[in-house]
Symmetry: C2
Subunit: 432 residues, 2 copies
């Protein structure tokens, strides 16, 4: 089918009052209101792409405004042309030199770019009648390599080598697609361990999660050390010695503090410490990696762009790559980071949760498994059991594994009624 | 005098249509409209602080919106309390966890923080009747150290060592203040070398600058290599072998390209190459430093925060620290970077130009000279001869040197008539 012109790009401020129950509370983010700067790309042919970036409340209006500032770069353009060369389209969207100054390639303008780029990929999936994970998984190595802006990455991985590495994984794509559909993708849960929950609620949630078949559990740390120790002891008691316990400090420590705190928490055998310090501190993470081994370091949900991920990999500053599909500038930049991770032999365990991040980022992991990394080993996709009911194609999680969707698009579309009720500040959810 | 409550924080979108003459054009920023997200902090006592961040046009509205999002953190608070502990006030402004998510500590929200923090410092200078450079230069080491958020910096420089290093420079402060007032601070000019200018205009501007006493000249590179070579030859012919020629690529190269291009331009004896690649690429810069020596690497105008500067210094990835007083989150974070640079033995040569950056950032260099670095060696402050006429206390440049202002405040106040004429989009400058 023909899309025709992009007739309109609409950006909406959607917020959920999650802070009322302290869902999602951690040492840095005390009371988040999960929010989406939600973008629709409308075409003359009638097909609509849906995408978003994620924030935790105040400031969501800035991402909405930034999406509106980017919209004129696409409005009026031919939709089929734009989708036919998504690499060029990505460079065009990110190439407004005046807007770029406000990043560059980071923060509000980059988050808004993610919303728009993801909406275009949702549109592309719908136009081709495929879920985006499969659309990507069926691309040739040349087509995949063409999605990436290599300018600042090729010192670590040049496009020719990326093409060769992808070609080497062509064999087995179909078998891996079948395996994925049969058994799903491994996951872990963060729903139990938020800082704001009481010990009793924590214990009850861990038990409930065990009953649901979860084998990896993540807890928030970085408050008072005695509290962290008490809560870690509860979880380790409940899950036993063999299941994995991960910890997440949400950036609150300095480098030396991170090392000291993790030595104190080592007795609970954490598999990884996530965001031990500033997400900008590549060299600091590298030192933490060396000083707390065998505890691994995971980071990425605030890693601003592929240039930063490149350095984390070059410096040996992380062991688990927790890319975020709404902080990186959409699918194109996610593909870049997947290719880099494969080159450096690092597993990608995307950040999810919030609102819609599980729906969005599962596509990255499936594509990674089928066409890039080619393995489940050490891969776990984050799962948080919040707000899925607002999505037209919600994630399916069974026995602690994600099952891939077959519906066309990027799974980013929310119900119109949900959008209306959670429009900020006048939707019904905010009226009370 | 007593300031009383902060009654209102107003953010204005101020833009100058500089793209019409290609002032400020370079390889990345083809047609900038120099702009300010301009903030006034009004107090019950009547004193007003003025501050801004700088952008190059589109997207300025995002910084204005972000300043408005931050304003409620200060409005209604007691102004004297806020100014009495600027370290705590800085942490309070940057500590809204929901807004922080949209950075964190970078991009639009960080630029807006700069505007507000700088307005508070202008207010503090006016309240104490001193230019900010002198206000800082008369602080004790303890007071200076208390301005900085050390959480993510202390692995490179801890507050105790910073205090000791500042104390070791106490002797000589008065003599350096006198020297500064007598002979001024060394500067260089970027007014001649913009990419958009013709060869004839370039030659004429270089000759004019020579006549004004300039000894350091910066040209933009990163377009076509043959053009870069031709323009470098013109400038080197005009300035002779002894004056300094600096080059600025404004991030357009990848790491390997930067090395190759600078080898090709080495015959013109550049003193430094500025922004050879992505401003986020610490490790890439470190490689360029090693591979193009003795040409030095300078960067910083897009260095997003002190954590990034810390790593550039730890990795030996830059030789000249070009901090920007409106991209770092105002005076407090500038002080942090000055202290780090002194520890690592690196000269600070602030980025200036645009609109008001010269006025703003001169205060950092004077304070650096009097109380931190204590030397003129290898220090040059950028100067661009544009838009100074809009400022109540414009910079004074004589014989290629900046002369320090004595007027109270941060020199950030623009004339009300200028603000009105350049209000975007309805001011007179935009009506035509």
């Amino acid at each position: 089918m023909t899309l025709g012109r992009i007739t309109r790009i609409l950006a909406r401020d959607i917020r959920f009052p999650t802070s009322r129950a302290l869902d999602g509370s951690d040492a840095m983010n005390l009371a988040p209101d999960y929010s989406a700067a939600y973008v629709t790309v409308e075409t003359a042919g009638g097909l609509v792409g849906h995408g978003f970036t994620f924030t935790i409340g105040r400031g969501n209006e800035l991402c909405v405004a930034a999406a509106r500032a980017l919209a004129p770069r696409l409005e009026g353009r031919d939709g089929d042309d734009l989708l036919a060369d998504m690499g060029e389209t990505w460079r065009h969207i990110t190439g407004d030199s005046q807007l770029r100054w406000t990043g560059p390639d980071k923060g509000v303008i980059h988050l808004a770019t993610a919303a728009i780029v993801n909406a275009l990929w949702d549109l592309k999936g719908k136009a081709e009648g495929k879920p985006v994970w499969r659309l990507l998984s069926e691309m040739s190595p040349d087509e995949i390599v063409a999605l990436v802006d290599w300018r600042w990455l090729s010192d670590a991985l040049d496009p020719g080598e990326a093409r060769a590495r992808l070609a080497a994984r062509l064999d087995g794509r179909l078998a891996r697609m079948a395996a994925l559909r049969a058994i799903g993708f491994p996951a872990y849960t963060t729903s139990a361990g938020w800082l704001g929950y009481s010990d009793d609620k924590l214990r009850a949630l861990v038990r409930a999660a065990l009953g649901q078949g979860w084998s990896h559990f993540k807890m928030k740390v970085g408050g008072d050390l005695a509290d962290d120790i008490r809560r870690a002891r509860i979880i380790r008691q409940e899950i036993g010695p063999d299941r994995k316990l991960m910890m997440d400090a949400n950036q609150v420590w300095g480098v030396d503090t991170a090392i000291a705190q993790m030595r104190a928490l080592a007795e609970f055998d954490p598999w990884w410490i996530e965001e031990p310090t500033s997400p900008d501190d590549v060299l600091g993470h590298a030192r933490i990696v060396r000083d707390i081994a065998p505890i691994a370091v995971a980071t990425g949900e605030h890693c601003q762009n592929a240039v930063m991920f490149k350095q984390f990999m070059q410096a040996g500053a992380l062991r688990f790559v927790q890319l975020d599909g709404a902080r990186l500038a959409g699918v194109n930049e996610v593909v870049a980071v997947l290719l880099l991770a494969e080159k450096f032999g690092l597993p990608v365990c995307p950040h999810a949760g919030g609102v819609g991040l599980c729906e969005l980022v599962q596509h990255a992991s499936y594509f990674d498994y089928v066409a890039v990394g080619g393995s489940f080993e050490d891969r776990v996709l984050e799962y948080v059991d919040h707000l899925h009911e607002h999505f037209a194609v919600p994630v399916i999680v069974r026995d602690g594994r994600y099952m891939p969707p077959e519906a066309p698009g990027l799974s980013t579309e929310m119900f119109a009624t949900s959008l209306e009720a959670h429009a900020y500040p006048h939707g019904a959810a905010w009226a009370s």
